[in-house]
């Protein structure tokens, strides 16, 4: 095994602490991509042996056996067996088992041992097992299994050196052999796993576990739900209030750069493109990075602490009533950050109809791309007051209301879909509830950094490109000196928008909105950058107008009814190319993404219309 860099896969049950071990071994040296043809995330990274020889590591989705029940579990099987396209068969496996759950985790370990690859078992989370009153004998476990067993505490980086040494020896000394006898049936396999676990257990003191005490409250039929709603509420309030100073700072920064370019570069086509197009457009989106990161922070914390599975438990009753399962709660909650990872997370839903329904309603969850739109409009049109002397802000409350409309809309849509186009058997819901754990700062930081990078890359590519194209369309042809029309209205883009305005005028949309809606097909937040660009073009070299905030500019031009209708539109409108593309890939065809786009636009039009007409009736037009 000299020459090529050995490739080693981390395999194990869900909740065995695989990802923490992977992070501890590779540090920041990791790369997330997709397996070709499927949207399962492929996490790869590098580590090195003590003498500096590199090894490449991949982290595989957690599974219970080599017989998959869902798409991501199938990837684990295919990689381990060397059947995954674009991935060579691993030279060795690190089998990660939870020291406190050997009975169960050894079943999969035994199945993997039968494959005949070099294997090292990482006896992980040994500290938590000790906290639970378990004393284990790793040497005995190693004798029983016939492979090296290394105790590890991934989150404290304990046992990593020993693990790599054992891995090196296992690879070097491995005698190639055929895969062992066909694995036992389920019952004998469990019996054997239990027997080995018992043999390796020196002492087991029954202690009343901390997790169970906490669950008495967290899973309480009433208190648990109250806690869940409270957590969600705090999360959305935090997104709105904590991010403000950072967002203001970023906004000021963009302004400084804009002014600097205006002052140092002579006026020409290129300067206008950069200042009015790129900086105004991309800048308007980048300022929302703090909010997106706060939202992701909450989701990552809920996931890492083990709370997410409890939330799924609490929500299953409600979701079961509309034909979904609690399994769908995690993808849907992720969709609050972005529908793309949310839709990808539906792979864990075993039932196909259940999964399809979850995909179709995922875009109704208020993703972070809507935040720029919501924040801009709420900031401009909803007064920053407290509600009736309480510490609850009116702006935050409106935001909460928008999130809630999306959720209620999604549940109603699911109810209808499950009785029509995605009709099927009532689905099951089976999932493991992990123990509670303190989230590890390191794991959270790595994950947050990856999300921030994905967002910034998007801002730098798709959003920058659409903004520049829009700027060109809105800047030419140049409006004649004596025209009553503004530059934006006179331009090619403005004329296209005038055509669209005919369709959207009945629901209260004006020319500004029509201009923003077309490029916002690329991504919702582009609506904001589009309005910023149009505003900047109309402002031209008028410095006073230029420095005017976009929100203030809109206040002068829009009625409250129009603003509210615009918000209602964005609760439903499927304006995101990435979501449509991922839906196509996940459903293997154009049928479902087209259906999704169609029904969402209909709902958006209806919701905006009803909002507008109601508001006008109340004299807000």
């Amino acid at each position: 095994m000299t020459g090529a860099i050995p490739s080693v896969a981390l395999v194990g049950n869900p909740n065995a602490g695989k990802s923490s071990l992977f992070n501890a071994l590779t540090g920041a040296r990791q790369k997330i991509a997709n397996y070709p043809g499927v949207t399962v995330e492929r996490k790869a990274g590098h580590a090195s042996f003590a003498d500096g020889r590199p090894i490449s590591l991949i982290d595989l989705p957690g599974t219970y056996s080599l017989t998959p029940a869902s798409l991501d579990e199938a990837v684990t099987r295919d990689v381990v067996l060397g059947r995954q396209a674009g991935e060579r068969k691993p030279d060795a496996l690190i089998v990660v088992v939870d020291a406190a759950n050997l009975d169960n985790h050894l079943c999969f370990a035994l199945e993997l041992l039968a494959l005949g690859l070099p294997i090292v078992v990482a006896l992980n989370m040994l500290d938590l097992a000790e906290r639970d009153g378990l004393t284990l004998d790793p040497a005995r476990l190693s004798r029983e299994l016939g492979v090296p067993v290394v105790p590890t505490v991934a989150v404290r980086k304990r046992g990593l050196t020993e693990l790599l040494v054992a891995l090196d020896v296992a690879i070097e000394s491995h005698q190639p052999r055929e895969a062992g006898a066909a694995p036992l049936g389920d019952a004998p396999l469990h019996q054997r796993a239990r027997a080995i676990a018992q043999a390796a257990t020196v002492d087991e003191t029954p202690v009343r576990r901390w997790t169970q005490r906490v669950d008495q409250v967290v899973l309480h039929p009433v208190a648990g739900l109250v806690l869940l709603v409270a957590l969600m509420f705090v999360m959305f309030q935090a997104v709105f209030s904590w991010a403000t100073p950072f967002a203001d700072g970023l906004e000021a920064g963009v302004g400084v750069v804009q002014n600097w370019v205006v002052e140092t570069v002579p006026a020409n086509f290129l300067r206008d493109l950069v200042v009015e197009g790129l900086l105004a457009g991309v800048g308007a989106v980048v300022v929302f990075l703090p909010q997106i990161l706060i939202l992701f922070l909450f989701i990552l914390l809920l996931e890492a602490s083990g709370y997410m599975a409890r939330a799924a438990f609490l929500m299953d009753g409600l979701m079961g009533k509309v034909g979904l399962s609690g399994r769908g709660f995690i993808p849907l909650l992720s969709s609050f950050a972005c529908a793309v990872p949310g839709i990808m997370a539906t792979r864990a839903i075993p039932d196909e109809k259940d999964r399809l329904t979850t995909i179709l309603i995922a875009p109704l969850m208020t993703c972070s791309a809507r935040m720029p739109v919501y924040t801009l409009i709420i900031g401009a049109f909803i007064p920053a007051e407290k509600v009736g002397g309480t510490p609850i802000g009116l702006q935050g409350l409106v935001l909460f209301g928008l999130f809630l409309s999306g959720i209620v809309g999604a549940l109603l849509v699911a109810l209808v879909l499950r009785r029509s186009v995605t009709k099927g058997n009532a689905t099951g819901f089976m999932m493991e509830m992990p123990r509670y754990q303190w989230p590890r700062a390191n794991d959270i930081v790595i994950a947050l950094w990856q999300r921030a990078w994905i967002f910034l890359r998007r801002a730098g590519t798709i959003i920058a490109a659409t903004t520049v194209i829009l700027w060109l369309l809105l800047s030419f042809p140049k409006v004649p000196e004596n025209s009553r029309l503004s530059q934006v209205e006179y331009s090619v883009g403005g004329r296209i928008a005038s055509g669209l305005e005919v369709i959207v005028a009945p629901i209260g949309f004006n020319h500004d909105i029509a201009v923003a809606l077309i490029p916002a097909m690329a991504a919702r937040e582009v609506a904001v950058s589009a309005m910023a660009t149009a505003n900047a073009i109309d402002a031209g070299d008028d410095e006073e107008k230029m420095s005017e905030q976009l929100g203030t500019a809109l206040q002068g031009k829009w009625s409250l009814a129009t603003a509210l209708a615009f918000l209602a539109w964005f609760v439903f409108a499927p304006q995101c190319i990435s979501t449509i593309a991922i839906t196509k890939r996940e459903t293997n065809g154009w049928k479902w993404p087209m259906f999704m786009v169609g029904y969402l636009f209909l709902l958006a039009y209806a919701a905006a219309g009803i909002t507008y007409w109601t508001a006008v009736a109340f004299g807000l037009g």
């Binding site: 219970y64 056996s65 079943c107 019952a187 469990h190 169970q212 039929p221 299953d316 009753g317 089976m430």
Partner: protein, 83 residues
Amino acid sequence: MTGLLDKSALGVAVRIKRIDWTAMSEDEGRRLREFGLMEGCEVTPRHRGSIFSRDPLALSVGRMQVIIRAKQAAVIEVEPIAA
């Protein structure tokens, strides 16, 4: 005296006597076994649903906690553990 798991009292350990594997799909059955739910094993029902419904059911199996639906628990026959 035997009963069905979906009707069992919370917090009391019981032993699984029989599971009607024909009442569920092959995948569901395998996942139950992967959770360690099979004839002869001990389980303790811990939590049941929320105000929305009596679904789902959270169980302790060995050192694991798992969630299943009442429909699945209804085909699992259990007996008290002899003192």
